[in-house]
């Protein structure tokens, strides 16, 4: 079961497709088409296309989810008109942005101005290539997926700063600097909080981490790490209360002030991609991934694609928490943000590591049970 990956499925699909195609083609062309390298190339393409489609659709639905939730928090209904309950509203918005003219400020540095949003978008997409979605649907079998995901996740400040600087706008520059300072400050507590999870589960592989949570989910014993991780993720995603890089009250739109049309859509989509990745990581690291507790009736987990279904439910619930925070908290100030980051979050994350070490020492908890790898 676990050996089946999204890549292996697309590889099978490419093999069938190309062999079928080769059987109706003349000899020399058939040799080219059925070449193993070509099959690998096509399977990579299929893999990437499926991932792109899945992550994009999820992102857009996520935006819908946020708009509806925010609407309810604000005593209104959110998008209602395009599609059922406004489900297609964001597709319409995306289409509008796609049709808009892309412009560039006269003094802007074209290379940075155009490559920034693309790189931001692409790096956010890459993470989806390594995240396991369900026991049968982890996209690639890599041993260090957690580390790789966080490493790619932390590219963002560089691209944000590049695009902000090359926009040649004072608001953009200030927003870019705030963004860089904030993301770098919150990388550290996030990584330390993740270390707590790694200590308990004994693995950097996200699938293994989920497997290790079969007796109890990590959010209970590692609640300190969870708090640090969620708060850090809020800062990494630049959402309220930590959205000061694009604080619209003082910085107009922050680092993407000068971007319009599709370039803005790239930033917007990449932001929500990162939000999706953040929610997924919370689910994978602390909420048991696609698994459900053993007391849940088996009917809830036995239908087809149940793993993916519960995984998505959890992910959207976690994102709903982020939306709730956004709807009810004001924005903090830069110096307060950095002070909280360095003075509160890092000690807390060190505490979470200590708690994880205690957990490893005692091996089994009275209420929760044992972690399989440490189990008796």
């Amino acid at each position: 079961m676990a050996s089946q990956t999204l890549y292996s499925v697309s590889n099978d699909l490419a093999t069938v497709l190309l062999n079928g195609l080769g059987s109706i083609l003349p000899g020399p062309v058939r040799a080219v088409v059925t070449n193993p390298d070509v099959i690998v190339g096509l399977s990579v393409l299929i893999f990437a296309a499926v991932l792109l489609a899945a992550s994009m659709i999820n992102t857009i639905v996520l935006i819908w989810w946020e708009r509806k939730l925010l609407g309810r928090f604000m005593d209104r209904r959110g998008a209602m008109h395009v599609g059922y309950a406004g489900l297609l509203q964001n597709f319409a918005d995306g289409l509008k942005l796609f049709r808009k003219n892309t412009f560039q400020p006269r003094e802007a540095d074209a290379l940075g101005f155009y490559s920034g949003p693309l790189a931001y978008m692409v790096t956010s997409l890459i993470i989806f290539g390594i995240l396991p979605i369900s026991s049968g649907w982890n996209s690639g079998a890599l041993p260090l997926t957690l580390l790789l995901a966080l490493a790619i996740f932390s590219f963002a400040p560089l691209f944000i700063f590049v695009s902000a600087w090359s926009s040649n706008n004072k608001y953009s520059l200030m927003g870019g600097m705030r963004s860089a300072a904030q993301m770098i400050a919150y990388e550290v507590p996030i990584l330390l909080a993740v270390v707590a999870v790694v200590i308990v589960s004994g693995s950097f592989d996200l699938s293994t981490i989920v497997y290790e949570q079969q007796n109890y989910w990590f959010w209970g014993p590692l609640v300190v790490a969870l708090i640090v991780f969620v708060a850090g993720m809020l800062a990494e995603m630049e959402r309220i209360p930590f959205d000061l890089p694009e604080a619209e009250a003082e910085l107009v739109e922050g680092w993407n002030t000068e971007y319009g049309g599709m370039l803005f859509a790239f930033f917007m989509l990449a932001d929500y991609l990162r939000a999706l990745v953040g929610s997924i990581l919370v689910v994978l690291l602390f909420l048991g991934g696609w698994t459900l507790p053993s007391w849940v009736p088996s009917a809830a987990t036995s239908f087809p694609l149940a793993g993916i279904f519960w995984f998505m439910v959890k992910t959207y619930a976690v994102f709903g928490l982020f939306v709730w925070v956004r709807a009810s908290l004001p924005r903090v100030r830069t110096d307060q943000l950095l002070r909280v980051g360095w003075n509160r979050m890092i000690p807390l994350s060190l505490l979470s590591i200590f708690l994880a070490a205690v957990l490893v020492t005692v091996k089994c908890l009275p209420v929760f049970g044992c972690v399989p790898s440490m189990g008796v």
Partner: protein, 381 residues
């Protein structure tokens, strides 16, 4: 990073209207500020010289788009003194009704804009939602939601419709129940207190030096409210307290405005009771025809009457939601005012920006300017 000037405005989310705050910054620190006004100047004072007395009321609604009634009232008081007209008592109470509902509406608008400035999203819509109830009330007896043209020299245009006082009481009950929710969302939030405590401090002495009035002055501990100190209309017959705070910071201004809304509710309950018990005329008898009807043809018998009309000078001062607004109306015997001059409280309040902005962070500008409650319409006039 070296020092640089940035323009916050005239098109900037912080400004809430057309004005420009030039800010000299070093990194995130504010070194100097330079407020620039005048983008919304429409020459209201000059246009007034070319209009009949009652036609100026239309301009007053446009003076401040969130406090139209207050400015109507201000002008009407000045014009009535200049024209030697006394309104009936019921009209005075109706004006207080308008004023106080307008104060609630204006403060709710301020609340919505202010919380949006510090990043609170939901209360923004709560404030707008509740302000809509007040606007619905206005619509029920003036026909308009923002530009009312309701007050007249010598009274008000029409009485409130039957059943109005009950629906107004319902709105007051709803608002009273919402105020704790507002406080919970702001004062109950640690981030809000971190952002707003000891921010944008303007001490009483500086307030006086710069002519800063209204909630900003009262938040510095000065118990000055024209409704108490120089009562006009029916305020001397109504019971209420002046909201005062001591800290002179953004939180103090928040507290003062919240308390003012509660006091307005208190005033309004008395006014509604009075209106229920005292029916009567709302417009004075024997008004000169030439100021009675706007757009009346010039040169009829009203013109003749006007010749012998006594000259006069009117001065009025009211406690507008933003501060103390003053008006000076000169009647030289003509059918138009000879001169109308207004004193806008917000003009003085944002002119003192250097006093309460320098030394704080760039991110502090929206909360501080939000706590000032800028209404550019009345600044530029």
């Amino acid at each position: 990073m070296s020092e640089m000037w940035i323009n916050m405005g005239p098109q900037h989310p912080m400004t809430h209207g057309l004005w420009n705050l030039r800010v000299k910054i070093d990194g995130e620190m504010i070194l100097d500020v330079d407020p620039e006004m005048g983008y919304l100047h429409r020459g209201i004072e000059k246009i007034s010289e070319d209009r009949h007395y009652n036609e100026v009321i239309t301009l007053m609604d446009r003076c401040c788009y969130v406090a139209g009634f207050s400015w109507e009232h201000l002008y009407i008081l000045g014009a009535e003194e200049a024209l030697h007209v006394e309104p009936p008592e019921r009209a005075e109470y109706l004006r207080v009704l308008c004023d106080e509902f307008q104060r609630i509406g204006s403060h709710l608008m301020w609340y919505a804009a202010f919380v949006q400035d510090i990043g609170l999203m939901s209360p923004f819509l709560y404030g707008m939602r509740d302000r809509d109830l007040v606007l619905d009330l206005f619509q029920s007896y003036t026909g308009a939601r923002m530009t009312y043209e309701y007050m007249r020299v010598g009274g008000v245009r029409n009485d409130v419709p039957p059943g109005f006082t009950d629906s107004a009481r319902k709105v007051l009950d709803w608002l009273t129940a919402r105020f704790p929710e507002y406080d919970q969302l702001c004062l109950g939030s640690t981030i809000f207190r971190e952002r707003c405590d000891e921010l944008g401090i303007l001490k009483a002495a500086d307030c006086v030096k710069h002519g800063v009035t209204g909630p900003m002055l009262r938040s510095a501990g000065v118990k000055r409210d024209l409704r108490k100190d120089r009562p006009y209309s029916a305020y001397d017959r109504l019971e209420f307290d002046v909201a005062v705070a001591d800290a002179a910071d953004v939180t103090a201004r928040y507290l003062v405005r919240m308390e003012e809304m509660r006091q307005s509710v208190r005033i309004l309950r008395q006014v509604l009771d009075w209106l229920d018990r005292h029916p009567g005329p709302v417009l004075a008898d024997h008004l000169p025809r030439w100021l009675g009807a706007p757009y009346a043809p010039i040169g009829n018998e009203g013109y003749l009457l006007k010749r012998n009309y006594p000259k006069g000078v009117g001065f009025s001062a009211i406690e507008e939601p933003h501060g103390e607004a003053l008006a000076y109306v000169v009647n030289d015997g003509g059918e138009h005012p000879y001169r109308v001059k207004f004193r806008s409280p917000v003009f003085a309040n944002i002119s003192a920006a250097r006093q309460y902005l320098v030394g704080y962070h760039v991110a502090d500008i929206p909360p501080i300017m939000g706590s000032v409650d800028v209404c550019v319409g009345e600044v530029d006039r």
